[in-house]
């Protein structure tokens, strides 16, 4: 099982670990409510070293990535980041990906539900002939997220970060080592991914942790990120992605370039698209007094089982359970009433997502 280079530091800080797709991740630090609240109200630091990171030279990297990924790699402008996915040959989701056009290189970051060896086989990056360099073992990925997270990265890397638009990459230095810096949060608050060499990982982690705590924030794990992604209606490959598999009912068409010729799994996806959607996911909320919703629980409408919960969380902003459920198209509308588990079970209401207004939307960084 792959482990983070920061494992000892995380364990010393109280992290509880679990395995996810062959990689050890930090589940939480013992207080999920406080961890979610840190992102919504202040800032939080999380170890994202579970992600695979590769670099490829512009040539032939641009064509190689374009042949694999659903998005259009040649259209990524310099300094910008594309959010797309990697599918297997059956057109089922394998990884949620960022691709960054970073000067002479492309930086490729994968949140994958495949074990490392299977992802390597799908990418075909192995072997001496491959133009890809795997940075995963020699680097850490740290995620700084939250309403005030910009203050932290500004303090450490300078005021230039204020001007970085969402989905962009910049190169900075920390302790004389290069840090690839990406603005690309998935919580709906400000968020930054820092890719740094292992030799400065501990020092960078300590610096960020101290800065986060100074602002009233804390370390958080992937459980908080899972809840925040659902609350902000960001796609989560580890939850609804893994459970549903097909990108079309998940509404991920925006990650695909419909006009490009081929990519991994494109034939199967196009075939299903041509046949037409039969189901899709929509948001649900339960009453404030309801217990947490369970993945896989059946959803009933007018006495009949019509769908199922595919991911769920407690929203600490709304103080109620939230979920995504898979429903037939003719019922996949917000504003309807359903029942959970049985025809007369708990009342669920389909809702418009995202149901919260993130605080970060009220901050205009470019006016600071």
């Amino acid at each position: 099982m792959r482990k983070s280079p920061l494992r000892e530091k995380l364990a010393a800080a109280g992290a509880l670990f679990r395995q996810r797709h062959g990689v050890e991740v930090v589940s939480h630090f013992g207080n999920l409510r406080a961890e979610c609240g840190a992102v919504r109200d202040a800032a939080a630091l999380a170890d994202f070293s579970f992600a695979r990171v590769f670099t490829l030279p512009e040539t032939p990297g641009i064509d190689l990535l374009d042949s694999l990924l659903a998005g259009n790699t040649p259209k990524i402008r310099f300094g910008r980041v594309l959010h797309t996915f990697l599918a297997d040959k059956n057109g089922l989701l394998a990884a949620d990906c960022f691709v960054a056009n970073n000067d002479q290189e492309f930086v490729f970051i994968c949140e994958s539900i495949l074990p490392d060896a299977e992802l390597d086989a799908l990418l075909g990056f192995g072997g001496k002939e491959s133009p890809a360099t795997d940075l995963t073992a020699g680097h850490v990925v740290l995620s700084v997220d939250g309403f005030k997270s910009w203050e932290i990265v500004k303090r450490i890397f300078g005021a230039d970060i204020i001007g970085l638009p969402y989905l962009s990459i910049e190169n900075y230095h920390f302790a004389n080592e290069p840090v690839r810096f990406i603005r690309a949060g998935k919580t709906s608050e400000f968020g930054y991914l820092l890719i740094a060499p292992v030799k400065i990982a501990a020092q960078l982690f300590d610096t960020l942790k101290a800065a986060v705590e100074q602002l009233g924030g804390r370390l958080i794990g992937v459980d908080a990120h899972d809840a925040l992604r659902l609350e902000g209606r960001f796609f989560n490959i580890f939850r609804e992605g893994q459970r549903v598999g097909d990108p079309l009912p998940l509404g991920l068409q925006w990650m695909m370039d419909m006009e490009k010729e081929n990519f991994s799994g494109s034939a199967a996806i196009r075939q299903r698209r041509a046949a037409g959607l039969k189901q899709k996911i929509i948001g649900f909320a339960a009453g404030a007094d309801c217990p947490a919703l369970q993945t896989g629980a059946p959803i009933f409408h007018e006495g009949k089982a019509v769908g199922q919960i595919v991911t769920a969380c407690i929203s600490y902003v709304l103080n109620r359970p939230l979920a995504l459920g898979l429903l037939p198209l003719d019922l996949a509308f917000s504003g309807l009433q359903f029942r959970l588990d049985s025809p007369d079970g708990l009342v669920l209401r389909s809702i418009s997502m995202p149901p919260i207004m993130p605080k970060s939307l009220t901050v205009k960084l470019d006016e600071m």
Binding site: H83, Y166, L167, K186, R233, F234, L250, G251, Q253, W254, D257, M258, E259, R273, G276, L277, K280, I282, G283, E302, D330, L331, F333, S334, G335, L336, S352, M353, P354, M357, L361
Partner: protein
């Protein structure tokens, strides 16, 4: 399905389809109606529209539904569904469908 639920769905579907068609036309999006999930984020992540596109969305709502989105309500642009909620709410406030 009860008549009331059928009517609720039909009304929402009509607002959604009208809005999506106009959005695709105005912004020249490479999608058909079915490709645009109603919860997809309009700005930033998701469709990745920028502030100029946001203005187009506001005009789109005005053209299609004769409803203005005031500056202080700009948060309704979070997704297609939140825009549709706003349109239906405004239609109801006006006492019927605009």
């Amino acid at each position: 399905m009860t008549e009331a639920i059928s009517q609720t769905i039909a009304r929402r579907r009509q607002v959604i389809d009208t809005f999506k068609l106009e959005l695709i036309r105005r912004l020249n999006l490479p999608y058909v109606l079915e490709d645009l999930h109603e919860d997809v984020s309009l700005l930033g992540s998701g469709l990745g529209l920028d502030s100029l596109d946001a203005l187009e969305i506001v005009l789109c709502v005005e053209t299609c539904f004769n409803i203005k989105i005031p500056d202080e309500s700009i948060s309704v642009l979070r997704s297609i569904n939140t825009v549709v909620d706003f349109v239906i709410e405004q239609q109801d406030a006006k006492g019927g469908r605009a």
